[in-house]
Assembly symmetry: C2
């Protein structure tokens, strides 16, 4: 059984102080699927595009053993588009355009053969749609869910309902503070885990990530990159690496969750080294394991006896 990934697919126009790309492959489901594809095959993708979606992107995903039977292609429809400009300080970005297009009426339909997926990764979309996915699935699936400030602010009630059915919630630090209304991240984590998810991951960008379970707090370092070409998709790549590794190992013990966080961090670091999805397109599993080991060296210390 593959890993089920549901989310957006889009065409991104992004400029950073270093370069610019137009109508590049984007969307949460895209980054998640590509990142997960290095760990688990097939990845079962559910999403929607218009008939203007370039065939080369379809081909790219197929080459990555992403099963596109759940991809709705709307005849004469226009694919979701997004444009943004990053500042010199890449932590600051202006969104220039959000055109939902075919995504506006997206109604996720899970193909019969995907319904037994034991692991589900819900990309950052409307919590109502995320819930619709779960309604079609086997209740015993392990659900990994991403969301963002937009839904926390605008759809809190629906999001809170969803969270009761989620095993792992992945959000960033400002979203955690917003959702919990608590500035201290450790307290914030307890409050959010009380909302439903037994596992919470708080991504902190250049400061790494925190994993919270019943008994464990784990602090993952960030990969020390001197050059970040394009931060777009870093969070989705994290989710993809995390979910892919869990699906590959079929082990959700705290110790293995830690490794999944590191593999997620590794995939995010590959993602931001190039524009769009380029950094996720031609990796070898050996490269990924090397980076895993680099993460290990980054945070390991031993006291001399």
């Amino acid at each position: 059984m593959g890993l089920l990934v549901v989310g957006s697919l889009g065409l991104d126009t992004v400029s950073t102080p270093f370069d610019k790309v137009e109508e590049a492959l984007g969307g949460s489901a895209t980054y998640i699927s590509l990142a997960a594809s290095y760990f688990s095959a097939p990845v079962n993708l559910v999403g929607v595009v218009g008939s203007d979606f370039p065939n080369r992107y379809i081909k790219l995903m197929e080459e990555h053993h992403i099963d596109l039977d759940g991809l709705q292609v709307i005849e004469n429809g226009k694919t979701f588009r997004w444009a943004a400009k990053y500042h010199y300080d890449l932590n600051v970005r202006d969104t220039l355009l959000t055109e939902l297009n075919v995504f506006e009426k997206f109604d996720p339909v899970i193909p019969e053969k995907f319904k037994k997926s034991k692991f589900i990764c819900l990309g950052n979309i409307d919590p109502v749609l995320q819930m619709k996915v779960l309604d079609q699935m086997n209740d015993s699936s392990y659900v990994i869910c991403d969301t963002m400030n937009y839904w926390i602010e605008g759809m809190k009630e629906e999001l809170l309902k969803l969270l009761k059915r989620v095993n792992v919630l992945i959000i960033n630090d400002s979203e955690a503070r917003l959702l919990s209304q608590e500035p201290n991240l450790i307290k914030s984590a307890r409050i959010i885990r009380d909302m439903g998810p037994e596992v919470l991951i708080i991504k902190k960008g250049e400061h790494g990530a925190l994993l919270f379970t019943d008994d464990v707090v784990f602090s993952a370092p960030a990969y020390p990159l001197e050059m970040i070409y394009d931060p777009t998709g870093a969070g989705d790549s994290f989710a993809g690496g995390f979910a892919g590794y869990l699906h590959r190992t079929q082990d959700v013990s705290p110790e293995n969750l830690k490794c999944a966080v590191i593999y997620g961090s590794a995939m995010a670091s590959f993602c931001v080294e190039q524009f769009s999805t380029k950094g996720l397109e031609n990796l070898s599993y050996l490269q990924i394991q090397d980076r895993f080991r680099e993460f290990m060296n980054l945070s390991r210390f031993d006291e001399k006896v």
Copy 2:
């Protein structure tokens, strides 16, 4: 030979959302010395207070084997005073009062018996004074130096001269960005190390700390505290734990610097658990080692074979 600590001693009035203290023991040299006292004895303190400095604070420092022969007590002088109020989000603070008093004319004089100290920890004071300390010392000392945005902005030229004579610079992330004029912390670290210090530590508060040497980048986690009573002195306690451990072990290899960063982080975590210097006053070395091990568990992961 003891560890030489030079910096400020003061009386702090601090309020947080949880409580308030008036004229409590404060100052960079105070926090550094108390934190270092658990690792290395004696700690040789050089600083200045007025004759209004409470005797119980002198006694407290003596109990911690802090050698006060370098402490100038100015007859009829008034001790340095500082007042601040922390917001609900403890990352935000308003400084309400800074009265330099006797500190305004502080001219550090290093007692003859302190001059052979092999390790020097320069607390956050005017870089001109920090330089005056080094001018009186043996050139072979290992120099650990703290500074802040105030000096980076107002005394950059003097600071740059000082940095050429410093082995380890300890600053926080916003200070690193300010000093290097570079938002990416990894690039920033390279730029700052080119200014002189072979070792750079960037403190990131709730996000831990980064250590940079020629060949090593090390990421230390932050201790997951649900309750921070008073953040005052956390950075100084870090410097004290770091310097004290290096002095105790007399080993400045990259592997040992990593441990020193963890001991520094441990002392900072004890510091913020209580008001003023209270968290540093009654620890046992066993407690400190336990916390060291907690830091280890916080960041350690192993891939199953």
